[in-house]
Symmetry: C2
Subunit: 335 residues, 2 copies
């Protein structure tokens, strides 16, 4: 059903609320667990934690873990702590990303670096990550630890690749794939894999693959949004990646098709310290006109199909339907 | 023997080279293990790693772990990886500290934030820590993980306390103890405890206590140096803590004894955004004149005696002698 929907777009996309409906109760338990895990007897930490738990988003990774755990009959109570660990790891990486990027807003609220300081955000990211690991250790499962410490290294390698990718117009599709695999797909994949390890171990491989392909599709969709959506919807200025000289799939796809003079326009933007809105808009238009956005969409859809295929072997449960709907959600999201 | 030496100072302090002599061979294996653990297929990471492994200091924490492991007859091969993990955790926290403090030099060489960038140092600290944890997980010992993830949280809480301690002349000795316990003693204690857990498990409690008291003595000695040594010896300007409005034990001890006008001098320094060398020198002199440094020394010696006492129950081995000598080394070091 959802496969047909993906291919023809005749079905309306499921709202996020519906996707997480099968695990609603546990999802609330995850929020409580997150609060418990980050509690510390230090006023500044308490203050930053409250702020962070308030800017919490849709809890995509915990929801995936909970759904993965419920694809079999025997979901395991440990998944609540696991899901809290996943969201805290994600939150820790966001806090450091915002600090590294000097971002002022996250989900419409001030970032830790802007509201407190750069110092506080570095330390707070470390704190969240350490506490998450302590909670993970308390589950007493070496396999879970193996998967999640590995992913955590992948996230940092992804960040480093991201830094190295700035100002690099020679960045290839393969480079891009390696970047988004490390930066985004690794954690979504681990959320699904470790979710499966809590009660649906027989689906571990399938769910790991599903999560990985979903993650690739997710990041491609995100990078397309930067070329297509305006500030009022994403909460960040359109073309921000270009402003920051970040090379993503739409540009990579368009570059080889540019005339010498059009290529000169791109080069000029990348030579400017702070490109203006007009320069950015011109390059966005060039990328669109030369099929960069269409190409990126096709590649995103390919990843989405692979995510769907990975679900084929799972039993037909509410959780599986929700996971399939999550693919559509990722492809259609506007923020 | 070393106890008498500590009390009377008639024996020359053991050189660091002698302290680590009993574990010299394994110490070299630890360096190789550190290289293995931080290897990554990413050029920027390789570049920063090489720089970091080059500014490696005396490997205090690995040496303590190796010595602790050798206090019994059955040292365990896992201690080499454990020791590498400890040093990498320490290195990760130094990289983030330097970034948070905007420090330019570490052990006489440029910091990651000054040589590369702030961004690179945040990500690299995360990378080192993640890789260290992956290596730790590979040892397959939940107890080791429990101790070290807990310590890693303590380190971040210590950093947060440190931030909160800036500009706080109301900081008490108890606040200071909590700060240095979290920031410094926790990791030295864990180095000794986890070292013991690799082959000398019967001495786990004694060595944990030894490491903790040694760590307290170590940090007190460090904070005294800031009031007593000049740039040529420490590699950092004397009085740097005061310049940065950091309240440490010598000042805390002196404050209640200051006359109203002397207190005014301290308040004035803390009200200045960037106190000059003259202001700093004046407060350093005030602290010394009012016995702040002597008081701090007495407290440091108390911690050192407690560290020695903790070694009482250990069998008389080369490793135990080296651990006792390490106390003297910490008390007498000039850098």
């Amino acid at each position: 059903m959802s496969g047909a929907a993906l291919r023809t777009r005749t079905q309306p996309t499921a709202a996020w609320r519906e996707i997480q409906a099968p695990v609603q109760e546990r999802r609330e338990a995850v929020v409580l667990e997150m609060r418990r895990v980050v509690t510390a007897d230090q006023p500044l930490i308490e203050q930053v934690s409250s702020h962070l738990l308030q800017i919490r988003g849709k809890m995509f990774r915990p929801t995936l873990a909970l759904l993965a755990s419920e694809t079999a009959e025997t979901p395991d109570e440990r998944v609540v702590t696991l899901a809290a660990v996943l969201e805290l790891m994600h939150l820790a990486s966001l806090v450091h990303d915002d600090s590294v990027d000097h971002s002022a807003l996250r989900r419409g609220l001030p970032t830790v670096n802007s509201l407190f300081s750069h110092q506080v955000s570095v330390i707070m990211g470390d704190f969240l990550y350490s506490r998450a690991l302590e909670a993970l250790v308390s589950l007493g499962d070496l396999d879970l630890m193996r998967v999640l410490t590995h992913v955590s290294t992948q996230l940092t390698i992804g960040e480093m690749r991201q830094l190295a990718a700035v100002d690099t117009l020679a960045f290839t599709v393969e480079d891009y794939d390696m970047l988004i695999q490390a930066k985004t797909a690794s954690l979504l994949s681990a959320a699904c894999e470790t979710g499966a390890m809590c009660g649906a171990i027989q689906h571990r491989r399938a769910l790991r693959l599903y999560g990985e392909r979903l993650g690739m599709a997710f990041q491609v969709a995100d990078d397309i949004l930067d070329y297509t959506e305006t500030a009022s919807v994403t909460g960040k200025p359109s073309g921000l990646d270009l402003k920051e000289h970040k090379v993503t799939l739409p540009l990579i796809a368009a570059l080889p098709r540019l005339s010498r003079s059009d290529r000169g326009v791109v080069d000029a933007l990348f030579a400017m310290d702070a490109p203006g809105d007009a320069q950015v808009a011109e390059v966005v238009a060039l990328v669109a006109r030369h099929g960069g956005i269409d190409d990126a969409r096709r590649r995103g859809e390919q990843f989405a199909r692979e995510a769907e295929d990975a679900l084929d072997r799972l039993p037909d449960t509410q959780a599986r339907t929700a996971l399939a709907d999550a693919i559509l959600y990722v492809m259609d999201r506007r923020s």
